[in-house]
Subunit: 319 residues, 3 copies
């Protein structure tokens, strides 16, 4: 309360939190101080969960309103709320179940369900659905993914937290492998990484699926160095983090060439000894099961970090 | 415990509660004293929720057994139980999911699930389903809607509570707009209103969708005044409450005439200055979004009142 | 802690519990001492539930991961966890809802959801699915049924507990009526019964649906007496327990003969006066509703016992 403000940062930071974290709609809304507060809290949540503790949210209700199913994301959010001591009401597949939900404008649903809950986690099938929800909601809204071209900010936040836990974000070198043009994950994380100094990004993808101009322009404007590559083996040895994502084979003409974007034992041999291997999961063939035993694999930890980051986000929006 | 019974009413009332509120199957089972007890409790729940409190139901389990989905009703009941401190087990769509549930007689399912819970909230696809459930259940049953021609008593109760919170039910003037013949809402609420003195009801509907004889006969027998109208503009200025419901366009021959049953700014101008506008939601075109900003609009509050009324009902059947 | 070990049994028993009840995958893994510990705990759970109490599991989360729906089993497990004071995250129908869940290997799903929960209850559509889950899970796994030819161990355990509560398992005489060849219930319970002395089993079934050789060989090796019968009336008077299961009519050539495997008033007249009538439910025509009123009927109690046995199992794997 009466803490010194010798550098002016903490109180401002606190203000930012209270002002800007009413809703979580897109990753761009997170400033560096807000990210650091989120990560401090996430780390604290990790400690609480490890010792089997809980927090004091027993009178708070989270509604998970999923217009399309996303089982792992939903279960992660629900676990996060329960680990805080809170309670959950839930719909797994609102659109398929309920003509009432389909007919109804999302705005009306949100106004109603906002009367039954203290925070709404929404997965909407249309880009912009979460933003529309936030504009009318009487309670905080967290975007758990909206549309294919939309945002999935909590995925990007847990990705960044996973790196932050083990590496300095400043001066980080990261290689993305997979579909860049439609890869929501790589796109969102690129936005967040651009907030940190001296980051270097490698986009490794078949040419027809490469990262689109909007992100590259954004990186240019923010002075972020990047390289466009078609062959993972050329850059894989440079990366502190190798972030693998899926490639749908039907989107590529050169099918045999797909092996250049897969991680197997020969690729492992070329990586830095202390690199981190990430993947948003689920995986298909692009990430071989033999990688699971490699000490650099972090994708299951990454999934688990989603719990801590979502717990932290919930504490911030419920404040 | 040893309270006086100077007027004989409270103990009797208490008896009625304990005797008659084992199950909630249809709105007709509610006497005026029981309604008043319910509304007193609902108001108390409103206060508890507003101050972020809870009650002492942590060892009670509510099962929501929905043979067909009704997402908003289910989430409202679940929130109500959680706000009481209780716990919930749930099935969103028993019929579609589970051949076992489809094959099985509802009586067997209820006997089994009654062994796992302290109260069952049932939504059944057949008229009379809730009554059949109540006849065999080892625990209280609450009807959350059964069939199209059936009952949805908690909707009628929350509608009545919404009016009661702001107006005297005695001498009330109310206009129903929309489909009267198949409108479960208007039919159920008419039954409840007939219990109060000097009520005046306007049924405003295209002639082919007007209120059926069974309700009109019931109102005649109970001395309730009503008028049958085909044009909202003629009576809208008389109503303390305007209760709007949906009209399915394919049920009407005079499509352009449908606008006579819609609420927009020109209709608003004709209403009483302190009228209340209700709607069970979801809405389609019959209730324009511009009405949302009108100080007389109460439909979102009405939905939220469902929480308090259902909390109150749960406390009554769990006693 | 410092209890005597005069017979060497309890500490060993305790060891077995801690060693062997990490996961519950198949009924064969249960030794007699482990069964006795389970049943002691189940009985204690019965007492706790009867007095409206709860236990101290408020910081534990159970995930119910049902790849195909089984509403009653899922609700029973969820009620069990809530009655312990614990919390639940749930998916009713993972396979239908979620392409991500369908594409993904069950191993990856389990590793991820094991990061969000303290125990996973899995219903998998393929035989062996639960075993695969247990092999990689970071938390205990309980099999709630896997495939048609697979196991459903908690059903067999609750069946055995229901008998144990009222009869000595040693010297027990039991008649199974119904489909023996594909009847998961009869098969699993036969395995468990073979662990007790002087058991006599009657398999009563149309010849083409009789018990298969693998079980009969197993019983031979364990010295269990059994008889193969095609007509219930010949043996029904000998049985302490009559365990009825379903026969799908399309699997039988002699349709009129099916009545020989049904329980109605004439069959009731031939049973022992203190026999117990069990059925896993749901039922179709093979178990007449008139039996419900017979004092020997135990099938609803049997379903309810599932709650106590599953509570007990959860306490054992969460230790």
């Amino acid at each position: 309360m009466t803490m010194g403000s010798d550098n002016g940062l903490r109180p401002v930071n606190g203000e930012i939190t209270r002002t800007h974290l009413r809703h979580v709609v897109e990753s761009q809304q997170f400033t560096v101080p807000l990210l650091m507060e989120l990560f401090d809290r996430s780390h604290e949540m990790e400690r609480i969960v490890r010792r089997g503790g809980t927090l004091d949210y027993q009178n708070k209700i989270m509604a998970t309103l999923f217009y399309e199913p996303s089982t792992r994301t939903r279960l992660c959010f629900e676990s996060a709320m329960l680990r805080l001591g809170g309670r959950v009401i839930s719909t797994e597949h609102a659109r398929a179940f309920s003509s009432e939900m389909e007919d109804e404008q999302v705005e009306d649903s949100i106004r109603i369900i906002g009367g039954y809950s203290d925070v709404i986690v929404i997965r909407h099938n249309e880009e912009g659905g979460a933003k529309r929800a936030a504009q009318v909601s009487p309670v905080p809204v967290i975007n758990a993914g909206d549309g294919n071209g939309g945002q999935h900010p909590t995925q990007a936040l847990l990705d960044l937290y996973t790196i932050y836990r083990e590496r300095s974000l400043e001066g980080l070198s990261i290689a993305f492998l997979g579909e860049m043009d439609k890869g929501r994950t790589a796109r969102s994380l690129a936005y967040l990484l651009a907030k940190f100094d001296r980051v270097k990004i490698y986009f490794v993808s078949p040419p027809e699926l490469q990262m689109r101009g909007d992100i590259l322009d954004y990186l240019d404007r923010h002075g972020v160095r990047y390289e466009i590559e078609a062959d993972a083996s050329k850059v894989i040895g440079e990366a502190d983090v190798v972030y693998q994502t899926r490639i749908r084979p039907d989107r590529v003409s050169d099918q045999p060439g797909l092996k250049r974007y897969r991680i197997d034992s020969s690729v492992l041999a070329k990586m830095k000894k202390n690199a981190l291997i990430l993947h948003p999961l689920p995986r298909t063939v692009e990430l071989d099961k033999t990688v699971d035993g490699d000490p650099r694999a972090r994708y299951f930890q990454q999934a688990r970090n989603g719990l801590f980051v979502r717990m932290a986000l919930l504490t911030m929006v419920l404040e």
